[in-house]
Point group: C2
Chain length 328, copies 2
């Protein structure tokens, strides 16, 4: 905490400043068993917790309720766990419309039902007008790890393929368009989706070594976090990156790099072998239609690099902060 | 939701309006297995979640970090569970002092250590200045139910004694004094304390049928909630209620009734037999020194009643709201 005496938006960005806060404040005290989002406690039970402060609370492709369920389900899924239970806690600002609370609650229940997840406990707090921003939601998820599943960073090997299940940057751009009234038509939609089913399919059809969902900080941030903990470099290929034209246009307009933009329905997987069976099985799933290899683990570089279409190598660095606050 | 179109502070009070919101909005969707704070999922594992929005965040007897640990540990304890794991999620307002964040984090770790509870996962979000109030903390607790322990409302029987482990109203009055700068000297201290040890002692030394911690809404609210679900009445005795003189004075000054004021280190237990061994064991514990019977389950009344020192019966009603917002 060498530079900051107070919390900045960057400390919540999921990028470098968040990492610094976790290392220097939280982990110094808590000595967390892992800095992954989810943790196996006992009896193959995996737990995770997340607060959702997205603004606006309703956006094309989802709302804070759907996001609070899918985000937590996805954190469990990245460990290979099957989500089973969910706990939901609301912090509501005085004056919030009860009709909106009903809509959000219905959205939570609908998403949980689709995923076969049972809501078992909750909590409601209300804060005065001006001490919140409509509604914040915390969800805690509990899942069960199927026998034989063990997803850990140190299983990543040289020559592992890096795979993503579809387009990059959709969620962040959908939020920024809705928030800043950019007026894009049709408005870009968030990719907000539960990945529990797709992940189990991947585990059955490929040699998955590690997975992460590229939320806050995007693909670039999670690749950097992973690379720091393995003894290899990572190269991704510009021409293989699935980025929609409209996402590229918005990013160019706003000076953003899609690699750093949050996704809410994407998994980045590190897998062994040629991955043909894996990718073709993923393409059969609704949330994997555009699955593709985007890179590989290699000793030819030290760090994370993007190989551009002209063949040059550009470093993909860990940023201190994310340009878009309150994206999830 | 007949009367309100928007959320009021009362909806977060833990009293009647909160109950209405739970019944008409949350439970209509979630169909929660229980409206108790904690729930047994499987393998004798009990889970609970709570957000803490107390203001001010530092107060005599504790701080939001200590409270976020003890409050959740106490919810697990009320089911008879031994708390084992904790997940911690922060929502921090931009501009919050990092020194205060460190103090709070140390307080969380210290309290968890004392209780032998391990913090296994966390989350940090930051919201813009004016969209929060310093810091809000959510904790989720996971505990293990010892073999043979089964604490459920329907075990409550006629003639059960109602027991509390000490003075009533301390937390709420400590908060209101700190918040409103009433300037009482010495300032009243919160009773904020973890009850996990005391509860296990009680389970070993008495025939405990049911327990609840009288937090938001105080002793009166939880007695009403319990009474609604059993086929008996409840009488408590004014002269047996342990209320400190200074708490009574502040309550008189502010027109508050200590029975409705939040406690954060108290358990109200329903127990069979004469409870002599139970009470004497409780008195040997640091958090049970002033343990006493305050009432009983009876068919002589229908509802919750206070027998005053003059022998008359005064109804103790479920209020719509709590007079003190953001007490926990």
């Amino acid at each position: 905490m060498k530079k900051h005496k107070t919390i900045t938006l960057g400390h919540g960005s999921g990028a470098g400043l968040t990492r610094e806060l976790i290392e220097n404040v939280f982990n110094k005290n808590f000595k967390l068993p892992t800095l992954d989002d989810a943790y196996e406690i006992e009896n193959r039970m995996v737990v995770t917790t997340d607060s959702y402060v997205v603004s606006p609370i309703f956006f094309p492709g989802g709302d804070i309720g759907k996001l609070a369920v899918t985000g937590t389900i996805n954190d469990l899924s990245m460990k290979g766990a099957v989500p089973v239970y969910l706990l939901v806690a609301y912090i509501i600002e005085e004056g919030f419309k009860i009709d909106d609370l009903i809509k959000i609650t219905e959205s939570i229940q609908k998403t949980a039902s689709i995923c076969n997840v049972r809501i078992v406990a909750g909590d409601t707090k209300v804060v005065q007008r001006g001490k919140g921003d409509g509604i914040y939601i915390n969800t805690t998820g509990i899942g069960i790890l199927p026998e034989g599943v063990n997803i850990v960073k140190n299983k990543i090997k040289k020559n592992d393929k890096i795979i993503i299940n579809g387009s990059i940057g959709d969620h962040g751009v959908a939020i920024v368009n809705a928030r800043e009234d950019l007026g894009l038509s049709p408005p870009p939609e968030s990719d907000c989706a539960p990945l529990n089913e797709l992940v189990q399919l991947m585990l059955s059809n490929g040699d998955i070594h590690f997975m992460r969902d590229p939320t806050r900080g995007g693909v670039a941030t999670i690749l950097n976090e992973v690379q720091k903990e393995i003894n290899h470099g990572i190269v991704i290929y510009e021409e293989l990156l699935p980025i929609k034209n409209e996402i590229n246009s918005v990013c160019e307009l706003l000076g953003l790099d899609p690699l750093y933009i949050a996704n809410e329905g994407k998994v980045v997987a590190f897998a062994g072998g040629n991955c043909k069976k894996l990718i073709s099985s993923m393409k059969n799933h609704i949330y994997g239609k555009n699955s593709t290899i985007i890179g590989e683990v290699t000793d030819e570089v030290n760090g994370v690099y993007l190989k551009t279409s002209t063949g040059s190598l550009r470093p993909v660095l860990l940023l201190e902060s994310d340009p878009l606050p309150r994206i999830c």
